[in-house]
Amino acid sequence: MIGRVVILKLVLLAVILISLQAGSVSLELSELWTGLSAQQQLVLWELRLPRVLMAALVGAGLAVAGVALQALFRNPLAEPGLIGVSSSAALGAVLVIVLGGTLWGQVSAWQMSLAAFVLAMAMTVFLYLIATRRGKTDVALMLLAGVAINAIAGALTGLLITVSSDTELRSVVFWMMGSLANIAWQEVGIIAVVMVLSLIGLWRLIKPLNAFLLGEQACLHMGYAVQSLKWWIMGLSALMVAVAVALVGVIGFVGLVVPHMVRLWVGPDHKMVIPLSALGGAILLVLADLLARSLMHPAELPIGLLMALLGGPFFLMMLLKRRGLNA
């Protein structure tokens, strides 16, 4: 079983190495030994490496947040973007850019992350309360509530943008493009800390997470603290989504596609699903970023757009498969 984790680790390493070499400034890794020019060093250490690591960490975070939310709702369609967690986080981030700009002048990534987390968490709790009754989730209600939340958060974000000043507008638009360009090491540090803490948190919950898939009652009778488990799932998934959104904007479908493929591969046991989804999400986003940078070179596709192009049809396919099951 551990073999699969090793395989994905090697794949991740390979795509990271490939991605580091792609771009307008030619840079062969073999040149590391023969010595890089000053320009190449700058490109590698200040542009490409933070960008690639950011893509990997965000991908891992979004995929694992998907796994956690799917366990909470006991449904593979619960994806942070679809059910409105991402757009709530985005609203929080824009709120800080616009209001914070007026209040404090300069806003930091920390402030944006915190505001994104508060709104993402509130929305997750709200969604859970309306979509789940007596431990059972109404899937249609969950998805429709997600549609509503997306609409409201989107409208409020738009409203904030119309009242923002020119400088604020520039940073909002810049941020909303969902771009991995111009990533600073400080931001990589933030998400790395959040990811490590969240993964440790979820790793400790593997047994109760598995039991939770059998229903709340069964989980309770198997001796696990169901209430605190639910709070942990909501908190950790909101945290991972919020920080990812605050730092690089909304990127959808990672949390849908990756856990689904992983479960088809190894089954639903979280002991395998969590590490493999983290690795799979990292691989997917590093690859997507590579594509986004190279498809229309020298122009760059927004990565959120690319993921929607890939993920949308995948989501439709999952829906059609469910229709087949119900028929």
Partner: protein
């Protein structure tokens, strides 16, 4: 009562003004099979839920192996008792083997791989699902799923030294209509399994609608009607024609079947329910 028992005194349960249980008192001894019988809405499942702490009783006292149920948390309880609810849920495609292993995991002990396999095989054999081991639970029939869930629940309390004489001493199994989806062969097979485990000290508490199963399988019976105890005690003395007719609101007769030497519950000639009669 000995140390190992579940006893409850003046147990009441209210929800939104409705009294689902009123002043219910009784005791279940370890190493026996106990039935809870009654009409729909008589309070059977409510009593089971109170006894398993799923629902907190509004008033009254429950002692679990001589300890106050309120003083035990679910983690402690899970080591000594397992619960099979009426409806089970499987949201993702677990294999039968994985499902049963979730039960073992709940024991919170680490065994060697060999011990784990031996325990798993024992439980799979006991519930006759060895041949389904690798199958996806979602693709199983209703009865097969029920057996797989039963195996998962048994795994939670299955002792490592299951061969020894009182291996299941102090352990409890709560079942809500376990036999509903099972075919006759497996009803009998699983019933015999419960008896074997009870002989090793396991206490079984089951809610059942199958009167003949209760008659043949259980040691004691608690007959509920409208949230109150109508009769309780040794099954044969509780399950009389009069008691059952009163509890179930339909005429039934307990007859002695000479060939098998068994008491059997039969229906008296069927009459439509009053309400239907009056509207026809």
């Amino acid at each position: 009562m000995s140390d190992l028992s579940i006893s409850f005194k003046n147990l009441s349960f209210q929800i939104e003004q409705a009294c689902l249980l009123t002043e219910v008192t009784g005791a279940f001894a370890a190493g026996q099979i106990h039935a809870i019988v009654g009409q729909n809405g008589a309070g059977k499942s409510t009593l089971l839920r109170c006894l398993t702490k799923e629902w907190p009783a509004t008033s009254g006292e429950i002692l679990f192996n001589q300890r106050n149920l309120n003083s035990l948390n679910f983690a402690e309880l899970a080591l000594d008792r397992a619960v099979l609810s009426q409806h089970q849920e499987v949201a993702f495609a677990f294999s039968v083997e994985q499902l049963v292993n979730l039960g073992f995991e709940a024991q919170q002990t680490s065994w060697s791989e060999a011990t784990k396999q031996a325990l798993l095989n024992k439980v799979l054999d006991a519930t006759d699902i060895q041949h389904l081991k690798k199958r996806d639970v979602l693709t199983l029939s209703g009865g097969e799923q029920k057996r797989a869930q039963l195996a998962r629940v048994l795994a939670q309390i299955w002792p490592v030294d299951f061969e020894s004489e009182q291996a299941f001493s102090g352990k409890w199994l709560f079942l809500d209509e376990w036999s509903e989806a099972l075919d006759l062969k497996h009803q009998v097979h699983i019933g015999c399994l419960f008896r074997q485990l009870a002989d090793k000290g396991l206490g079984v508490v089951m809610v059942s609608h199958d009167l003949n199963q209760v008659m043949q399988l259980t040691d004691t019976c608690t007959l509920l009607k409208a949230g109150r105890v109508l009769a309780q005690g040794v099954t044969q003395s509780v399950m009389t024609s009069e008691n059952l007719t009163k509890a179930l609101d339909i005429s039934v007769q307990v007859v002695f079947e000479a060939q098998s030497h068994q008491a059997v519950v039969v229906l008296k000639p069927l009459k439509p329910l009053n309400s239907i009669k009056s509207t026809v």
